[in-house]
Symmetry: C2
Subunit: 152 residues, 2 copies
DNA sequence: TATTGTTATACTCTATAACTATA
DNA sequence: TATAGTTATAGAGTATAACAATA
């Protein structure tokens, strides 16, 4: 072509990944946002709490890959909605521990099956081998992209 | 566990995809945002113009998966920066045709090698077979997620 | 001195829709 | 009536940093 430069956006991996991730994200957000009035950050914090029902805020930030400010704000809203409470951490009085309330557990009991049904629908088209492979490929891409970000 | 409900956020596909896509996106944005002061939307519009150097705005919206408003704003900024111009479409006077300026082409000639080097670094860890497979898996996930979004 | 969590601020992005000019 | 593009506006999300309490 005239310009002597090339680029096909459609085949550019970062673009493809962004488009797919955004579409997948929207398909799940339809459940937690539209039907349960949760933001993505609130949903992530709740999801992090499913396993044990309690977690230090610091740990919630790590497992959700949100920063402390995003967690702090999401938790404020969740607490106002009566879905979680914050209590003091006796081991480190700077920290606070998040706990699901029974209302929070109730919401998750209704929400999780819907969200997991959507994930199952997405995964239906992939064989077991393909799922494992996808997982490994994503992991490698994550590591490489983090390496690029560190080197600036 | 006490709650009788389960969910491991780390293994939840929509979450994993979002985390990887965001990290990959940031690793590329370091180039176009930090070094060339472009937003993601501006970068996408420019990338769409690489192949032929000109394109109707409507087509740019389709190939970038941005909506017409996002394209309109990105193009306004790109035009202020002297990187593209809009001219009338003689075939349909509602439409306008985007054209790269020589400054735009010059910027792309400097930017593309850097961006493509990053993509190459990301892809280095994948074999040819794995790249093809990843592409197919992403395509299937995209279709399925669009299906979920349509059904609401 | 460093860390946890909160708050403030400014900035960007997003969603919706009204508006114009054409078709 | 419908479409291409622009503009307006309000709401969400993001980035940075200052701050209080504690380690």
């Amino acid at each position: 072509m005239a310009s002597g430069i090339r680029m096909n956006l459609q085949e550019f991996l970062p673009y493809r990944l962004a488009v797919v991730a955004e579409s997948v994200s929207r398909s799940v957000a339809q459940v937690y946002a539209t039907r349960f009035s949760l933001t993505r950050d609130e949903w992530r914090v709740l999801a992090a709490l499913v396993e044990s029902g309690r977690m230090p805020m610091k740990a919630a930030a790590l497992t959700t890959t949100l920063d402390k400010m995003q967690v702090s704000r999401a938790v404020s809203r969740l607490e106002s909605a009566g879905l979680v409470v914050r209590e003091e951490d006796p081991g480190d009085r700077r920290g606070r521990i998040l706990m699901l309330t029974s209302a929070g557990r109730g919401l998750l009991r209704r929400l999780l099956p819907m969200v997991e049904a959507r994930e199952a629908f997405l995964l239906e088209t992939l064989s077991e081998d393909e799922r494992r492979l996808l997982d490994g490929l994503l992991e490698r891409l994550l590591e490489r992209s983090q390496q690029l970000q560190r080197q600036g």
